[in-house]
């Protein structure tokens, strides 16, 4: 088993375990912390996939940005003593079944679907390539996303602002 495979299985197990903590943890802050580390594990997987740019972006945006916001909101809305409260709603069984079945189906599709080439195709260097794509083929979606972000920012400000009386 090569180093790469070892790393892959380790990171995979790591991310999955932490993701499970995220959805099952009794205490929400722990869930958030687990989320952070699971993101880091995924970043490691991205590096295994020669996507170092995205790995960095992953850490920067998800860990440095989104989860910080999440933690922030948690600190603003909930207390530390998260013991004893019911964290799952009453439809957990059904949804669990649904999730598992979907998982299995997707897994089947993945295993029997696509045949990857024997050796990895040559890949251009990450950052410049992504930049070129964003500026040429995907310029329009890029603009759309930026506008979306702008709208999101405005909306967030508007929603979070205390309505002045």
């Amino acid at each position: 088993m090569s180093v790469e495979q070892g790393l892959f299985y380790f990171l995979a197990a790591f991310s999955v375990a932490l993701a499970l903590i995220v959805v099952l943890a009794q205490n929400i802050v722990r869930a958030a912390v687990a989320l952070i580390f699971s993101f880091c594990g995924l970043a490691g997987l991205y590096i295994l996939l020669d996507a170092e740019f995205l790995a960095a972006v992953q850490v920067l945006i998800y860990v440095g940005g989104i989860t910080i916001l999440l933690l922030f909101a948690i600190l603003l809305t909930s207390r530390i003593a998260g013991k004893g409260v019911r964290v799952l709603n009453e439809q957990k069984v059904v949804s669990g079944i649904v999730a598992v079945v979907l998982m299995v189906l997707l897994g089947l599709a993945a295993t029997r679907g696509f045949e990857a080439p024997a050796e990895l195709p040559k890949q251009p260097e990450n950052t410049p390539r992504i930049g070129t794509l964003l500026m040429t083929t995907y310029a329009l979606p890029f603009e759309a996303v930026s506008i979306l972000l702008l709208a999101g920012m405005v909306g967030a400000i508007f929603l979070a602002r205390k309505e002045e009386k």
């Binding site: 439809q91 949804s95 649904v98 999730a99 079945v101 979907l102 189906l105 599709a109 029997r112 329009l140």
Partner: protein, 666 residues
């Protein structure tokens, strides 16, 4: 200069941006921006048109809009005689109507909003016309639909207006679904949505196209019929015409621009644009022709009895659109587009005239409260007269040439029945137009007094466009249409459809003349009848006529109860079901109670005992079933998001299961 065609839609877009974002700044100067934008784009369009006449053309992709896998849809423009004619008509008429609106809307609070919508409409319509692939055309198609919705409901504080807007939107959705499906099929068949590639690919894909797919119809027929469904929605043909009369709730310039001149003709344009496909599908062509002719006749009958001045013109529009589709259906695409152009002018003129009248009478729309306005509104009445003559198809005005060509082509195509329908429609067209004209501008003066005493001719900003449009109405017909089938226009646009492999029915000169004379006589007859009945305004004949054929009259007056029919079928149905359930429930439960009561009374009657117990039990059971059912039904809406989410994911799951069961993902 042809390369600059992108300017034509972009200029109004600039207007949209300025008025839309800085409307509070432009305020009552908004019309300056809007008019400048449309005017410039009209100028560019004119230049390009001239160049196209000289022989230039363009089919260029500017930008790859959608690229997903092997699916790619460019943002590209196609400039050929057909699209250039459309472009010219849209821009010129649009420009004039913008000018007119500056006067008509001058004291409206939402001034910038109005002009933003109008410009946005111009943008969408030009995109629709100039697009070089179906997807981009569909973008414009939806855009004009949106603008029509916004503008019909422009006075949104008026419930009738907002309802009419919604109605138009919903009805159009039906047609749009057709267009979408057609696009899917086209994509699957040709692997492209670009007009050129699709039409060039026809030869290769003929085998596939001719293969029977649904109900024994060939694939191409299905595609064409689906496209035509969209056309009926957008161009207000049977059975989807119901939204157009209600659309008159919008401001009159809107009715003129969108619901007479440009948007409603989009369907015709699409059919003509897809001529190569339609030519392969005679069945579809026949359907188009029949629907067109029937609509032409049907709408004309309704127009004969309407009393709302704008609705008369609206039904007349529907009828004229019917003629256009009739033209397409019999393969006379060029004539259809010609009629589209002329109709754009004189129908816009009619609407603007109506607007001017309504404006003068401070909002009065019922033509029974008008009359003898000829002296008060000289310019309006004169141009209105021209337009009426044109619409009635009197030589040498615009309407005559185009409509007559269509009818002639129908005759030459041996569709004698359709020709008869069309001619009957023409008769009524002449009749209702002059019924309108005489009751409004001559006849008896029924204007109520407080409307009468500030009765005034509209300001020049409104009448000048009227005069210009009137001038066009007078000249375009014989200028481009003479001699029939060989005039400037036909030599220009005809080429497109010859490439499309349209079967032109040779038509002898004699026949042409004969038909022309017949048509003129028919029109004159209609005018004569209208004159006899409405010139003086106190002729009892119409009333007597109505008395004689009361049933027919009321039917037509109520527009054949189509709206009621639709409402009964599609709207009330749901309510009906619920009420039925409730009724059963109540009835059964009560029955149960009473049954129980009778049971106690008739305890001695052994003979009846079994009977009642049986009834009782049965009844109770039914009641329980129904109650349980309704209870569980209303439980569905819990208000908890995650339940909905769960339902969604279950659905996704099912789709995945089915997909993989059908061997997908392998």
């Amino acid at each position: 200069m042809v390369e600059m065609v992108w300017l034509v839609p972009v200029l109004p877009l600039v207007g949209v941006v300025i008025n839309g974002l800085f409307g509070h700044k432009t305020g009552h100067g908004a019309h300056k921006v809007a008019i400048a934008a449309t005017g410039l784009s009209a100028a560019v369009a004119l230049v390009i048109f001239v160049q196209v006449v000289v022989g230039a053309s363009l089919d260029r992709d500017i930008y790859t809009w959608v690229a997903a896998g092997e699916f790619a849809a460019p943002i590209g423009f196609l400039v050929d005689p057909l699209s250039s004619v459309m472009m010219l008509v849209v821009t010129v008429v649009g420009f004039l109507i913008h000018v007119y609106s500056a006067g008509y809307m001058h004291d409206d609070p939402g001034y910038p909003r109005f002009f933003t919508y109008m410009n946005l409409f111009m943008v969408s319509m030009l995109v629709l016309v100039l697009a070089n692939n179906y997807l981009l055309m569909f973008l414009g198609w939806e855009g004009v639909g949106l603008c029509s919705y916004l503008l019909i409901g422009y006075w949104y504080e008026k419930k009738s207006a907002s309802d009419a807007g919604k109605k138009a939107f919903v009805v159009n959705r039906i047609g749009d679904a057709g267009v979408l499906l057609a696009m899917f099929l086209i994509w699957r068949t040709f692997g492209s949505l670009k007009f050129t590639e699709v039409f060039d690919g026809i030869g290769g894909a003929k085998a596939v196209l001719m293969r029977p797919s649904v109900l024994g119809l060939t694939l191409v027929t299905v595609i064409c019929l689906l496209l035509f469904v969209g056309a009926t929605g957008k161009s207000a043909q049977l059975p989807l015409y119901v939204w157009l009369p209600d659309a008159m709730e919008g401001p009159t310039p809107v009715s003129a621009l969108i619901h007479a001149a440009t948007m409603v003709t989009a369907g015709v344009y699409m059919v003509a644009r897809s001529a190569p496909l339609f030519n392969l599908a005679p069945t579809a062509l026949l359907v188009v022709a029949v629907v067109g002719a029937v609509t032409a006749f049907f709408a004309a009958t309704i127009a004969c009895v309407q009393t709302d001045i704008k609705r008369v013109v609206a039904y007349s529009t529907i009828s004229q659109l019917g003629y256009m589709f009739l033209g397409c259906g019999v393969g006379a695409y060029a004539s259809a587009i010609f009629h589209l152009g002329t109709h754009a002018f004189f129908k816009a003129l009619l609407f603007l005239g109506c607007g001017s009248v309504i404006h003068a009478l401070s909002g009065e729309q019922d033509m029974r409260r008008m009359g003898q306005l000829k002296e008060k509104l000289p310019r309006t009445s004169r141009t209105f007269l021209w337009a009426s003559l044109a619409n009635a198809g009197i030589i040498p005005l615009a309407g005559f040439w185009s409509k007559d060509e269509i009818l002639a082509a129908t005759f030459a195509g041996h569709h004698y029945l359709l020709w008869a329908l069309g001619s009957a429609g023409a008769l009524m067209t002449a009749f209702y137009m002059f019924r309108l004209y005489y009751t409004v501008f001559e006849g008896k003066n029924n204007v109520d007094h407080h409307a009468a005493h500030h009765l005034h001719e509209s300001p020049p900003v409104m009448t000048v466009p009227l005069l210009i449009l009137g001038g066009c109405t007078l000249v375009v017909g014989w200028l481009f249409g003479f001699p029939p089938d060989h005039g400037l226009y036909h030599r220009f646009v005809g080429s497109v459809f010859e490439e499309a492999g349209t079967a032109e029915h040779a038509i002898s000169l004699v026949l042409t003349v004969v038909l022309a004379v017949v048509a003129t006589l028919i029109a004159l007859a209609g005018i004569g009848l209208a004159k006899a009945w409405y010139k003086t305004g106190d002729n009892p004949a119409p009333a007597r006529f109505a008395e004689q054929f009361r049933g027919l009259y009321t039917t037509v007056l109520n527009k054949y109860w189509v709206d009621e029919f639709y409402i009964a079928i599609f709207v009330t149905f749901g309510k009906k079901v619920c009420r039925a359930l409730w009724g059963v429930d109540a009835g059964v439960v009560d029955g149960a109670v009473n049954g129980a009561g009778w049971l106690t009374v008739a305890i001695s009657r052994v003979s009846a005992l079994f009977d009642f117990r049986f009834v009782d039990g049965l009844v109770n059971r039914i009641a329980d079933v129904i109650q349980g059912g309704s209870q569980s039904l209303r439980k569905i809406q819990t208000g908890v998001i995650q339940n909905y989410l769960l339902a969604m994911s279950v659905a996704v799951l099912l789709v995945t299961v089915i997909y993989m069961a059908m061997g997908g993902g392998r």
